[in-house]
């Protein structure tokens, strides 16, 4: 990474850590979602351990999207985005860097917390490892897909809900293969690596394509 992008990455981390930056919000939301589920479903440990991977994945999906609508909105409001568009650093790389910072801030704590929360759902050790591995492989795709929606709604007031409506259908494949590989880790007919490799492929596709889509959306914001 070159110096401008490193500077941008550092700035994102510093803003998130400051008051009102909302850096820890995603993981707290994740924690609440997962701990609410047993209250809704009841104390049937067999059922909970069977649907545990699905609960963790849905909670991860929602909490990843939670902070994403602010990804470009804050910069659009204070004029920083204009300066990014003007700078000699390609906007695609700016988008990718901001996504990397957002992923580090929200997805990484979430991946670390997932096995602990899985324990409270009565999941087996193999399933816990499977969930953590599948989240590690799948969350980059969620962040990057969300960045497209954030780019499209950057100029709008109350764009957050619109962004979720636009992006949630697109995350379906990630959710399917994420839960499939997490469940496959604790046994079943499908070997673990089949859905896991597809999940990795989805993330790589998102890394390759989403920055261009999001940057195009940001450039077309005003025209």
């Amino acid at each position: 990474m070159s110096s401008p992008l490193l500077a941008l990455f550092g700035r994102e981390l510093r803003i998130a850590r400051s008051v009102g930056g909302g850096g820890a919000m995603g993981v707290v939301f994740f924690l609440i979602l997962v701990s609410l589920t047993p209250f809704a479903i009841g104390p049937d440990l067999n059922l909970l351990s069977r649907i545990g991977p699905a609960i963790l994945w849905i909670a991860a999906l929602l909490s990843t999207l939670l902070g994403l609508d602010r990804l470009f909105q804050a910069d659009a409001d204070d004029g920083s985005l204009d300066l990014f568009v003007m700078s000699s650093t390609p906007l695609e790389l700016v988008v990718l860097t901001k996504c990397a910072a957002h992923w580090t801030l929200t997805a990484l704590p979430l991946i670390a917390a997932a096995p602990l929360l899985g324990l409270t759902l009565g999941m087996e050790p193999a399933a816990l490892a499977g969930v953590a591995a599948s989240l590690l492989a799948g969350t980059p795709a969620l962040t990057l897909l969300g960045a497209i929606g954030a780019g499209l709604t950057a100029g709008l007031r109350r764009g957050g809900l619109l962004m979720a409506v636009l992006i949630l259908p697109l995350t379906t494949p990630v959710l399917i293969f994420g839960v499939a590989s997490a469940s496959a880790a604790s046994g079943g007919t499908v070997p673990f690596h089949t859905p896991f490799l597809i999940l990795c492929g989805l993330s790589l596709m998102a890394v390759a394509g989403a920055p261009f889509a999001a940057a195009a959306a940001l450039r077309a914001r005003e025209a």
Partner: protein, 226 residues
């Protein structure tokens, strides 16, 4: 002793900007139409006009935020393969500062983001001193007044020197002393061969600047006929 390559060779310096027949649309309507201007190094252009005449639209189009519907801008000289936007600073209504970071952190970030190897670049601390805010460097921008924020935004012009300054009402919220200081900075920029394109209602103290009058009604009439 400064290194020899600190002076940029003359072939690299931007000699002129000329625009012909610029037209910018917003929401399907021609906001700016038939704009021509020609600037040589050291010259300034004042874009004048009533509210809604398209002053900001013109500057935003020159900065590359809006597409030019017609016309073209040509650069004479300057670094090869660089667009006008990459050689320009834009100071608009929004200051581009993060309220949670200190003034110094904001400037340090922009200095690195707008990477500039020029020898005339001031350090972030020096730029803050230039705008008279040296004492407030470690103060979060969120606590500064509107005029002080604007001065931090203007300090960005000094940490990464670029030949073209696109200024949209740059003196908003500035007190008399700061306006005077900024006029001196603009004069120094022009003396060094820089360009200034400013949209303003208040006098900026630009001596001998060219004027470009935009007329909202004319642009719309012609746009409707086309």
């Amino acid at each position: 002793m400064p290194p020899v390559e600190a002076r940029s060779p003359n072939t690299q310096a931007l000699q002129g900007i000329s625009a012909k027949g610029l037209r910018v649309d917003r929401g399907g309507r021609a906001i700016v139409r038939g704009v021509d201007f020609d600037l040589r190094a050291g010259e300034a252009l004042l874009v004048l006009g009533r509210n809604g005449a398209g002053k900001s639209t013109l500057l935003r189009a020159l900065a590359g935020f809006l597409p030019l519907r017609e016309g073209e801008v040509q650069l004479d000289g300057g670094a090869e393969e660089t667009s006008l936007a990459e050689q320009a600073h834009y100071v608009g209504h929004a200051d581009g500062l993060k309220a949670a970071l200190t003034a110094l952190e904001n400037l340090q970030f922009w200095a690195r983001m707008l990477k500039c190897a020029s020898a005339t670049a001031l350090s972030p601390e020096g730029a803050l001193e230039q705008v008279g805010l040296a004492r407030l460097g470690d103060f979060p921008v969120g606590y500064l007044s509107a005029g002080q924020k604007r001065r931090v935004a203007l300090a960005r012009l000094f940490v990464a020197p670029r030949p073209i300054w696109l200024l949209d009402e740059p003196a908003t919220a500035l007190d008399v002393g700061s306006q005077q200081k900024f006029a001196e900075a603009m004069a120094a920029h022009r003396a060094g061969g820089g360009f200034i394109l400013a949209a303003t209602h208040a006098p900026l103290g630009l001596v001998g600047a060219k004027e470009l009058r935009l007329d909202a009604r004319r642009a719309r009439d012609v746009g409707g006929a086309a």
